[in-house]
């Protein structure tokens, strides 16, 4: 007999009925993960509404966020990796001077396009 602690979260009956047969661990990814991720998606939506309402949607970080959000629904995989790449500085040479200690979360793009090269693939 299994120790009770080894039980996976169980699915409600109506969910079990409509879900194709998957392992309990795989089902738990949705069962446990859906509500927190739904909340995060709403935060993204509300944030984009908020920056529109307050007239700051042109900030390069907001622009980058909208472009990154498009990756979510393009039907291709490796979404997390591709979103991180979208936010990244695509240049390859060290900077001459530091622009401050803290990164901002998205590349400002303040560089002539001819100096931008595609990052090396792994």
């Amino acid at each position: 007999m299994k120790h009770p602690d080894s039980k996976r979260p169980s699915l409600p009956k109506r969910v079990r009925a409509s879900t194709p047969r998957v392992s309990a661990a795989a089902a738990a990814i949705v069962e446990v993960g859906f509500i927190p991720v739904r909340a995060k998606l709403l935060e993204v939506a509300a944030f984009l509404d908020r920056v529109d309402r307050h007239g700051v949607s042109g900030d390069f970080r907001c622009v980058a966020l909208r472009e990154a959000a498009a990756v979510l629904v393009d039907g291709r995989n490796r979404r997390a990796r591709r979103i991180l790449e979208k936010f990244s500085d695509p240049t390859t040479e060290p900077d001459t001077i530091s622009t401050g200690k803290a990164a901002l979360g998205a590349w400002s793009g303040k560089l002539a396009p001819e100096k931008v090269r595609k990052p090396k693939e792994s």
């Binding site: 661990a25 990796r81 990244s88 500085d89 530091s98 200690k101 990164a103 590349w107």
Partner: protein, 268 residues
């Protein structure tokens, strides 16, 4: 459950955190040198910090039966002053034979500048000269991809660097594979707002495998969680991973890397 916290800035934490970590199964903590939140103004400021890391902090951890090890360097955030950096690096060898010093770290880049690259190269030379393990910090957010590539190129250009003795930390989905492909170890840092969450960390383990990877909380004076590593074990078990998988990632992997230093010995 047992685990090793291979990257925690414990000088920023309270003794309550030591107690909680030990209660959660922590068998050892390793503390890389870090930025204080402001730039230290003199070599003597660094000397005092290295004494704190090698004398006071191990004694504080010992009160909770927790072995404490450390890494020494000048943090990339303080690399713009090349004269100060040179003078600080000159005193580091005085501390390298202390019994809890594992290597040079966390070195690396912050904003990917030329001065940071210069100081990184000096640190690498120091590590090679004294046959030390290397722990590398990769930059934050939009700077991480470019910085990781610059760091890998610099490490690979140095003939004395053995990739299996280098861990490149704070990898994310866009950098982990290129680190592993070149023979280095990869560290995944669990942070509430940046770096990786427990679910994303387990995703990376599922995609890239569990070899040459460790998890850490990098807890410091910012928003961070000193129990992030043991909490990630719950996510692993929820996904159906075995207790052996959890033990391999949270304990045996960091133990294997860190044991390359003869000073890393635990009472187990």
């Amino acid at each position: 459950m047992r685990y090793i916290e291979p990257h925690g800035h414990m000088v920023s934490r309270t003794t309550d955190d030591y107690q909680a970590m030990v209660t959660a199964g922590c068998m050892a903590v390793c503390e890389p040198a870090f930025w204080a939140g402001y730039d230290r103004g003199s070599v003597e400021g660094f000397r005092d910090y290295y004494r704190q890391l090698t004398e006071y902090e191990p004694a504080r951890a010992a009160k909770f039966m927790l072995p404490h090890f450390t890494w020494l360097c000048l943090n990339p955030k303080e690399s713009e002053d090349l004269v100060l950096a040179r003078d600080v690096l000159a005193i580091i060898p005085q501390f390298l034979d202390r019994p809890t010093v594992l290597g040079i770290g966390e070195i690396g880049l912050n904003r990917n500048t030329r001065n940071e690259m210069t100081v990184l190269e000096r640190h690498i030379e120091l590590a090679v000269k004294y046959d030390q393990l290397i722990l590398v910090h990769t930059p934050h957010l939009e700077d991480k991809l470019k910085g990781t590539n610059l760091i890998i190129d610099l490490l690979r250009s140095h003939r004395g660097v053995k990739p299996e003795r280098v861990i490149i930390d704070h990898v994310e989905e866009h950098t982990i594979q290129r680190v592993l492909d070149r023979g280095f170890w990869a560290g995944i840092t669990l942070y509430p707002d940046s770096k990786a969450s427990p679910p994303r960390a387990v995703d990376m383990l599922e995609i890239c495998g569990r070899e040459r990877i460790w998890l850490n909380s990098a807890c410091d004076w910012g928003v961070s969680d000193p129990l992030a590593v043991p909490k990630t074990a719950l996510e692993m078990r929820r996904r159906g991973h075995s207790s052996d998988f959890v033990d391999a990632v949270l304990y045996r992997n960091p133990h294997r890397f860190l044991s390359q230093s003869p000073k890393f010995r635990l009472g187990d």
